[in-house]
């Protein structure tokens, strides 16, 4: 199925791009038309991604659906896209969540519907672009371009402190990306000293990166890594996240948690590891410690939050800690776990944000203490919140367990980390996850009804059920039969691990992988 020029991915980028431009021609008074058009376009993109999924061959290593067109010939930059088993999962997640979030904003977004839909579609272009780029320059363009619609989504449709939050989000991320840009150029120049031509072609750089002299490699690795770590966010780069999440509208939070954070962990897998294997293994213990601090710290801070959305936001810090730990454990089990956990987190945290948004739309408060005893008033909502919470805390049979189990199991036997201590500390996060989620649930859903106004709450309506059901289906699917998804990424995961560990400069004694 490897074809030098396959345009499917390009179409996938063009659908939301042209779609967003098309929206500009619709009269902004026709809000319902705009909503349907936006939803339709996003749905079309999802269908196309399903086609790509069906045609994807998981047995192949390497990139598929490659499309390469020379862009800036002077510096040898090309529009070069393609996917492997890891990126296809994240693309599916993106195209799956985008129509859902658009649909969920039907009622909550009341002002500037046209602009909102426009930015959401543009955001989708950026996200897909990040996951398909096989050229560092192109990647960088998408990476930065995606910031702009997100900045506006938080800044225009956000809460009271939206300006502070959006500027903080923007600057935090920009700081990281600038470092990365320096390294991209440096890497290209370094390649030129070998081959005579400057290049940002990822596949070429895969061969060159590992040979970069140690001191320079450390700098390059760190500048890529910090940029991604901010996005993840890895402790201690996480403080933009609670602000951005709390201020963002529901759709923004869902996309932010569901997809944007994954761009960080994806970047680590796609760039940090294969380009700089030596540094990656050297830094693995330090980074894993940070990841574990994030797991425990995020959970503990989540536990004491008074705002539901902030609680879910901090829980992301904890969950993404697992993903980073899994990546740097560099065993098949762990990295596979991390890949599936990226999808899982998008589903379960996405569902939690949607649910918090749904109840916020009704009461206009997210304070936990303003709730209590809603189980008998809105049983469907209560059930859905329980389901999403269980998924998030990793109950076996649901998706979260699959990821966490593989990550912990894989990191336990990791030759790179080579100590039980990492897993023992990380696994304690499993306890804390139950604490903060069940405690929130107890205070919000159980007990006696404390506030009279809660009695008039309306349960989930059909539209909201329709939003949640597809997510819940995947939560169950991954929990019961994860093979569908694990199979997709197994080859690519192993390729990445090989790139790191089967490297003359990597100082890891690995008997078997």
């Amino acid at each position: 199925m490897y074809m030098e020029n396959n345009f499917l991915l390009t179409y996938l980028l063009l659908i939301p791009l042209l779609g967003s431009l098309l929206l500009l021609f619709i009269n902004k008074e026709k809000e319902s038309l705009i909503r349907w058009a936006g939803f339709g376009i996003a749905l079309l993109a999802f269908i196309l991604s399903l086609v790509i999924y069906l045609r994807f061959d998981p047995g192949q290593s390497g990139f598929q659906f490659v499309n390469k067109i020379t862009w800036i010939s002077k510096i040898n930059v090309s529009y070069h896209v393609g996917i492997d088993g890891i990126s296809i999962l994240l693309i599916l997640l993106t195209t799956f969540l985008t129509p859902i979030t658009l649909f969920s904003s039907w009622k909550s977004i009341k002002k500037k519907v046209k602009e909102f839909t426009f930015f959401m579609l543009l955001l989708e272009v950026g996200m897909i672009g990040v996951f398909v780029s096989l050229d560092l320059f192109l990647f960088y363009v998408f990476w930065e371009a995606m910031l702009i619609p997100m900045y506006f989504i938080i800044g225009i449709w956000g809460g009271e402190q939206r300006i502070y939050a959006s500027v903080k989000f923007f600057i935090y991320t920009m700081f990281g990306s600038l470092l990365m840009l320096v390294s991209i150029i440096w890497l290209g120049v370094y390649a030129a000293s070998f081959t005579g031509t400057f290049t940002t072609n990822l596949l070429d750089l895969y061969k060159i990166g590992p040979g970069v002299p140690h001191q320079i490699q450390v700098f390059m690795f760190l500048s890529f890594f910090i940029s991604f770590a901010i996005k993840v966010p890895l402790f201690p780069f996480h403080t933009w996240l609670p602000d951005a999440h709390v201020q963002a509208p529901t759709a923004g939070s869902v996309i932010l948690a569901g997809v944007l954070l994954k761009m960080g962990t994806y970047g680590i897998i796609r760039f940090c590891l294969p380009l700089f294997p030596q540094s990656a293994t050297e830094f693995a213990p330090v980074i894993s410690v940070l990841a574990i601090i994030g797991i425990i710290y995020g959970a503990l801070v989540a536990m004491v939050q008074k705002d539901m959305k902030k609680l879910v936001a901090y829980s992301s810090v904890s969950h993404l800690g697992f993903v980073v730990l899994g990546i740097f454990a560099m065993t098949t089990e762990a990295v596979q776990g991390s890949v599936i956990q990226m999808v899982n987190h998008g589903l379960s945290t996405g569902a939690l944000f949607l649910l918090v948004g749904m109840i916020y739309d009704r009461t206009h408060t997210r304070e936990i203490s303003n709730y209590g005893g809603i189980a008998k008033i809105i049983p469907l909502f209560s059930f859905a919140l329980m389901f999403a919470s269980l998924s998030s805390m990793g109950l076996p049979g649901l998706n979260g367990f699959v990821g966490e189990f593989l990550i912990l199991l894989g990191s336990f036997k990791s030759p790179v980390l080579n100590s039980w201590a990492y897993t023992i500390f990380a696994a304690s996060g499993v306890i804390f996850a139950a604490v903060y989620l069940l405690w929130m649930y107890q205070r919000v859903v159980f007990g006696e009804v404390k506030h009279q106004n809660l009695f008039s709450l309306k349960d989930l309506e059909k539209r909201e059920i329709a939003i949640l059901i597809p997510i819940f289906i995947f939560i169950l699917w991954i929990g019961i039969y994860p093979g569908t998804f694990l199979k997709l990424s197994e080859k690519s995961t192993n390729t990445v691990i090989q790139q790191v560990l089967v490297n003359p400069n990597t100082d890891v004694k690995v008997a078997k992988q």
């Binding site: 503990l300 004491v304 336990f412 306890i431 139950a434 107890q442 994860p482």
Partner: protein, 645 residues
């Protein structure tokens, strides 16, 4: 039938789905109850048919694996969704579906007119589903699925009446506590699994155990695995130090206490240890730890049980105590004796709880035995069955508890030490005392309740399960008749399970080296002890009630200590819960996050702001000033160039 064993898992799941999704529309309690009970009843029949099929097979062909699909595979890991039917799992399956069925039927009467009748049956079915996965799972991960699944059901059912108060808090607090404490245990269990995978490269029972049989004994690795797994068991089976959730679990409806918190789920830890017997047998130090933890738990829980006044609290501590006996059995390598006690305990403890439910039902939710008395004549069936259960748990000769408990005590003596046996007897003595204290205060003496209550016997749907369980409590012991009595056939129960435990026993080298005379002597001592304390309870609580109050006044400090359950909850609250909460809020969130990290970020931003403001001053807009700066700049540059040559 063995090939259809998955039906025992599937049927309760279907029951759960039907009642869970359509229950609130069905509304008719009978239909909901029949769906809920019949799915479990049919599961029991399937298990029974499989059991008879196994009986007809030669011993070496009794193990069957039923594979369903591949669940989790990554790298070297390949977890199949598969069920293992062997002598051990079929015994457990019979207990769970059999006792489970009776409790389902009973619940139709007990939960009558509850507004969430359907939800109750849905949860109960879900519990059976999870429990069957736990028992039948062919590998650690399927077991863990059931393990956490029963924890979830326990959580949902403890908090079933989520708007009710319970003691100082609410039922949902008790539910959360149960789940979280169980998760602490699960954390240990997970680590145990990881270490098993690291050591044996597999998580499949048969592969792991057969490798364990061949592996040369390296104590430390086995020790760690056994320790981690045992931590898991202490959570689920309420042993020291993680027993604190079980007494609070009584916040749930009484059939739940009978099914989950007495007969089945809490014995999961015992089952797990028995299942992994070869691993535990390879870690003698941990075996000792288990025996001691089990015995201490049995002892301390019994002391607490002596003074509690809430009927369900007494039974809860009694359960903790009896579970301690089972771990004592595991610890001394008497695996089949432990499983035997799991079975007899399921009968008589389920009976005690259901009996208590019948009383609570009659007394309109009054649970304080100080407000009972003289109930014998109002509820004769409940009374008689309760007496049988109390006799069984006290070890009255000929009843089920007698055989199973004495086998444990005998093994504690034969393969442990006299000390283990002596503390065990002391505990048995207290058990008989608190059970009969409860019995006499409830059914005998003056009626200490308001007569507006009009206590009455429960309907047949509740009393028939009581009667069946009473019969089982009487005869259940005879399948495990010790060799002393049964002659050349030996202990039937033990020989049925022997293929499962043979390799562990070989490693422990457990051989009966003591004579029959000793066994009978010890048995007589324990019988005397039990009868003595039953009489003591009878004397104090029906003849001379003032003795009780005098004693409690005389030893008021000890009495308060026991009444307040050794203040364990308070100590945990003060040393773990509060510091974590306060520390997370005051230090991690308010200081580390908001002040230090965010302070640095915002500080950097404002530094740039200020620097920019400073630099901006140079942009005065006067051309002369710019020219001047330019001249200075050129001068400096020239100077620099000249100097560097």
């Amino acid at each position: 039938m063995i090939d259809y064993i998955y039906l025992t898992v599937l049927l309760p799941l279907i029951g759960f789905l039907i009642n869970g999704i359509f229950g609130h529309k069905i509304k008719n309690e009978k239909i909901i109850g029949i769906i809920g009970s019949s799915t479990v009843g049919v599961s029991f029949l399937v298990a029974l048919a499989s059991f008879f099929q196994m009986l007809s097979l030669p011993v070496d062909q009794r193990k069957h694996v039923v594979e369903l699909f591949s669940w989790l595979s990554a790298g070297g890991l390949n977890i199949k969704f598969a069920y293992l039917v062997d002598q051990l799992s079929i015994v457990m399956a019979l207990i769970v579906t059999g006792v489970g069925f009776l409790i389902h039927v009973y619940s139709i009467g007990y939960m009558h007119a509850d507004k969430s009748f359907w939800r109750f049956f849905a949860y109960l079915n879900l519990f059976i589903f999870a429990m069957m996965n736990l028992i039948l799972g062919d590998n650690f991960v399927v077991l863990f699925l059931g393990w956490e699944g029963v924890g979830l059901c326990s959580y949902l059912l403890i908090g079933f009446w989520y708007d009710r108060k319970f003691e100082k808090g609410t039922t949902s607090q008790a539910a959360k506590k149960a789940f979280v404490v169980n998760r602490i245990g699960d954390f240990g269990f997970l680590l145990g699994m990881f270490l098993i995978y690291l050591t044996f490269d597999s998580l499949n029972f048969q592969e792991v155990f057969s490798k364990a049989e061949l592996f040369p004994i390296s104590g430390t690795v086995y020790g760690f695995i056994a320790l981690f797994l045992f931590i898991g068991a202490t959570g689920k089976s309420a042993q020291i130090p993680l027993f604190v959730w079980l007494p609070d679990a009584m916040a749930g409806p009484t059939p739940v206490s009978a099914l989950i918190h007495a007969a089945t789920m809490v014995t999961a830890g015992v089952y797990m240890v028995a299942r992994c017997s070869i691993i535990f047998a390879s870690a003698p130090a941990i075996m000792t730890v288990i025996a001691i933890v089990g015995l201490l738990t049995a002892f301390f829980a019994a002391t607490v049980g002596l003074v509690q006044n809430d009927i369900k609290k007494v039974l809860a501590y009694s359960t903790v105590s009896q579970l301690g006996y089972m771990f004592l059995a595991m610890g001394v390598g008497a695996f089949s004796a432990g499983i035997f006690h799991v079975m007899t305990h399921a009968f008589f403890k389920a009976l005690l709880f259901l009996g208590a439910g019948s009383i609570i039902h009659a007394m309109h939710d009054q649970q304080d035995i100080q407000h009972y008395g003289g109930l014998k004549k109002y509820m004769p069936k409940t009374y008689i069955t309760f007496v049988i259960a109390a006799l069984a748990i006290s070890g009255f000769p000929g009843l089920s508890g007698f055989f199973s408990k004495d086998e444990i005590l005998w093994n504690a003596y034969a393969h442990g030490s006299v000390l283990l046996w002596a503390v065990g007897i002391l505990t048995a003595l207290m058990t008989a005392f608190y059970m009969f204290r409860l019995l006499f205060l409830t059914f005998f003496g003056k009626e200490r309740f308001s007569h507006d209550l009009h206590p009455h016997e429960s309907p047949a749907v509740m009393t028939v399960p009581l009667i069946i369980l009473a019969v089982l409590s009487v005869v259940g012991g005879y399948i495990g008749l010790p060799a002393v009595f049964s002659g050349e056939n030996g202990n039937l129960f033990e020989s049925w399970l022997s293929p499962i435990f043979s390799s562990a026993e070989r490693r422990l080298e457990v051989y009966g080296s003591h004579g029959h005379f000793e066994e009978i002597l010890l048995m007589m001592i324990s019988v005397a002890a039990a009868l003595g304390s039953i009489y003591l309870a009878y004397y104090i609580y029906t003849k001379k009630p003032e003795i009780a109050s005098k004693t409690s006044r005389k030893f008021s400090k000890l009495y308060r200590l026991l009444l307040n359950k050794y203040y364990v909850d308070e100590v945990y609250e003060a040393t773990i819960v509060q510091p974590l909460q306060k520390g997370s809020e005051k230090i991690l969130w308010k200081i580390a996050d908001n002040k230090i990290i965010d302070g640095t970020v915002n500080g950097a931003a404002s530094l740039i702001d200020k620097t920019a403001a400073l630099i901006r001053r140079f942009q005065t807009g006067f051309t002369q000033f710019y020219a001047f700066i330019m001249m200075v700049g050129i001068a400096i540059a020239l100077f620099w160039i000249i100097l560097s040559f």
